[in-house]
């Protein structure tokens, strides 16, 4: 489904990604973790073309991102993305946030888009808030709306960029619950997160990155059982302490 082949990226002379390669199969849930500045967010932003890269190739469902002939908006409409800071549109109601992409990109009728939006809001437990503005919701609620907004486009895969990092601790679980449910339904997911509990529960594989490199790419059990690299061991010992 998603195939990342020898990706390298530089900001000026600073290399943020160095020869990264991995595959995400249909229905697979892959967690990407690593210390801050390791390039994990940059890597998943490359997958829907929000960040350009200088070397290598990324294929999403057979479509190459580096190819100048690729219709990027069309490709992005098929890959959902959830951001660390939610990025709901503050000047639109929750429902308008959910229908914008459906009507403008997919060409759905307003009624159709609203019906779909309502179904997704019910799913994330926020149907009662459809006419509110994002600023009237809590962080956890906003992130659930953001997930619903991404799902409204019927994506073939979902990318999560630290979806719980900006949340108050008591709101993390309501977001993770939605993600766990999504994973169990067979959604293809790439998740940048430090929530190791989530990784243990639903991830098929864990990718560990450090200094722009994929240091470890292993099955979940293998990763938590015996991570081979010293760097990954150190990282795990630091964050699993508490």
């Amino acid at each position: 489904m998603i195939s990342i082949r020898s990706i390298s990226k530089w900001y000026g002379s600073f290399q943020v990604l160095a020869d990264c390669s991995t595959e995400v199969a249909k229905g697979e849930v892959v967690v990407v973790c690593g210390p801050s500045g390791s390039g994990k967010s940059t890597l998943i932003k490359c997958v829907n073309g929000l960040e350009p890269f200088q070397k290598g190739e990324i294929l999403v469902d057979g479509v190459s991102l580096g190819d100048p002939k690729t219709n990027l908006p069309k490709l992005r409409s098929r890959v959902g993305m959830v951001f660390q800071h939610f990025e709901l549109f503050p000047h639109m109601t929750v429902m308008q946030n959910l229908t914008l992409g459906q009507t403008k990109v997919l060409g759905r009728s307003d009624a159709e888009a609203r019906a779909k939006g309502l179904k997704l809001l019910e799913r994330v437990g926020l149907a009662a808030h459809q006419d509110k503005y994002p600023g009237q919701l809590s962080g956890g609620q906003q992130q659930r709306v953001a997930i619903a907004r991404a799902l409204s486009m019927d994506p073939i895969a979902m990318l999560f960029d630290e979806p719980t990092s900006a949340l108050d601790p008591e709101m993390i679980n309501e977001v993770l619950d939605v993600m766990v449910e999504l994973a169990r339904e067979g959604m293809t997911m790439m998740v940048v997160t430090h929530e190791m509990g989530f990784a243990r529960k639903v991830a098929h594989r864990v990718i560990f990155m450090d200094q722009g490199r994929i240091v470890e790419d292993a099955g979940t059990d293998a990763f938590f059982g015996t991570p081979r690299s010293e760097r990954a061991q150190l990282f795990l010992s630091k964050i699993l302490h508490h």
Binding site: F83, F89, A150
Partner: protein, 229 residues
Amino acid sequence: MFAGFDFDVIARSLPYLFREGMTFTLTLTALAMLGGIVFGTLLAMMRLSSFAPLAAAAGTYVNLMRSVPLVLVIFWFFFLVPWIGGWLTGGGTIQVGAFWSAVITFTMFEAAYYCEIMRAGIQSIARGQVAAGYALGLDYWQTMARIVLPQAFRNMLPVLLTQTIILFQDTSLVYVISATDFLGAAVKVANRDYRLVEMYLFVAVVYFVISFAGSQYVRRLQARVAVLR
């Protein structure tokens, strides 16, 4: 103290001052504001473009307009536009008249200022908002029109209106092309009846009342339009 003055001249010329003069001033202000904001927003998008020649062209235009006195621009446009128009169409000069010449001038001139306001407004929108628009599959124009510009416009509304109050005052400079705006109409009456002090005083009071009321309205608006985050 005011024994030697005749303030009755104001009452007598009131219909003329407002029906002719103020109508001209307000129509000019409104048209130049609309044109200036539309053109200024386009300029702002050009200045922020990653395509360097486009950004440079808009930057040059804005800096040029902001570096020359408005009176000079009004004067030049009034005499140049007919000439250039004639040269382009190949026959004689094209007369657009003082009013339309003023509308074009103020639109072009104020666009440079509105551009800088809109540029700040666009830059105030978090990069993540643009990313979120793109991630949904919206293209550049859709992201601009649906996500960035509505928020930028709302954030900048008080500043845009304040600039419009300045524009309202600046329109009095059309006296250099002998157009009859509010000030122009008052000056005509003043000279005809030799009531200079009375008329200039009255004009100042009217400009003050309108501008002050406008800026008070902007202050009240500021609190109301702030986007909840």
